[in-house]
Amino acid sequence: MIVPYSHILILASLLFLMGAACAVARRNLIMILVGVEVMLNAAALAFVAASLRWQHLDGQAFVIFIFAVAAAEVAVGLALIVRAQRSTSSVMADDYQQLKG
């Protein structure tokens, strides 16, 4: 016996909102990606808890795919940050103001 399902869901939702607040409020591009990571991790926690709640392995299978998507997203996101930093020598979102084809 562990804890009620609602407690795990509340933990996951608090974690998700922390990640969302981080992604919205921070201006450093790396911190925005960190916020997205926190959100993905919170979703994974909710999936694992649901898998235990309904005694079904589907939730855990989805967490594998969340991990794969997180890895792909971080690889491409960090490559984009490196490229943007080369052209503007800044990682602050405010400094990307010019449109140039």
Partner: protein
Amino acid sequence: MTISAIMFYGLGIIILAATALAITRRNPMHAIIYLIVSFFAMAPLFYLLGAPLLALLEIIIYAGAIMVLFIFIVMMLRIEVTPSTAGQWFRQWFPAVALSALSGLVMVILIWQEPSQQMVLPLAMASPREFGLFVFRRYWFAVEIASFLLFVALVGAYYLGRKGANPEGKP
């Protein structure tokens, strides 16, 4: 309160505190170290919820691979920490925190109202063998798509980060 419930609440407090510290640090390196602490606390939580393979993958992929990639990039870019003024800080964080608190409140009320959610979860464990067989029997096509996605991400990261890339002109 059983020993697993105590472990759950302890790990939950560690996760929330480490994440709260991580998202408020000004130095990205400190933030990433706190996030690694949070992921390391998340792994035993997955184990507690009956997913030992995912607990290992959380450490290997999240804390091991993804966070090390972050650390590489932070060290490569040599980001200077700019001090922020109080007004700017307030203007950025106030809307985010207010809206998050509002939606958090709504979410907690919704979760609390559902009576069937108060059911205490049983202890169960899906062995890695059982879980692997399930994934490859039931979701083999999704596994293929995930591997293709990782391949596309690899090619994309290489294309964006290659040395001859000229950010001003044509790619």
